[in-house]
């Protein structure tokens, strides 16, 4: 240790200064709380798998292009299926109409 660098006046001055500005008492378990917060901030965000999957799906569904494409597919598929079924039903209706005229129920 270099004794020449120690200035007794400065040591005393430091003690006086510390005494003139008293530090407030720290709350209980302050240090432990600080470390816990640091660990939490450093840790990766944890979330349940279901919620993440659902959020991703919703984000996909809400994309305008995707929503428009799905809507178009649903409408076209519904209409095509409806026309196909309608054709079949119309054919059966027409057949029933013809049969009702030429072959009354009492004969069938």
């Amino acid at each position: 240790m270099n004794q020449e660098n120690i200035n007794p006046e400065d040591v005393r001055l430091g003690a006086l200064l510390r005494a003139s500005r008293p530090a407030p008492a720290l709350p209980p378990r302050f240090q432990e709380g600080v470390w816990r917060r640091i660990e939490e901030a450093a840790a990766p965000v944890k979330s349940t798998g279901g919620i993440t999957w659902l959020d991703a799906l919703v984000a996909l569904v809400l994309r305008p292009r995707f929503a428009l494409a799905i809507a178009t597919v649903l409408i076209v598929a519904g209409a095509l299926l409806g026309v196909r079924e309608g054709n079949q039903a119309a054919r059966q209706d027409a057949q029933a109409r013809y049969l009702a005229v030429v072959a009354p129920n009492s004969l069938r």
Partner: protein
Amino acid sequence: MNRSLVILLGALALGVVMFGGSYFAGQRACRMMRSGDDLSWLQDEFHLSDAEMARIQKLHEGYLPKCAEMCAKIAAKKSELETALNGSTNVNPVAQQKLTELAALRAQCQAQMLQHFTEVSRTMPPEQGRRYLAEMQRLTLGFHEQTESSMSGSAGHEHHH
């Protein structure tokens, strides 16, 4: 409830509505567009020309009054049968006679109907005519065959005609 789940369920419901709406609209439009007269089925099903349809129309118009006359006779005979059976606990001789007459009338009417189908089939191209005749026989006579076979099967005995 989770916001994402609500959005997803809403989107799903909207999708179902869109699909269902377009399905019913397509079906309805198709049925409305294809609804025609009594003979429209023949033209569509057997790919007939206008000339063939005109001949069939003529045969059809000639057949309808005869068919209506036979139907009126059958209805009258059924009424007579009901009167004969009214209050009776067994099949009396009068009811038996009415049943025989009703069966004879039905057979006569069926023969007339089959004759009409044969005439109509002759106005079509041969292949279509054969198909029409087979289809009409299946539709008008097949019902009895189904009933008879189901009854003979359920009763556990067979009829040989």
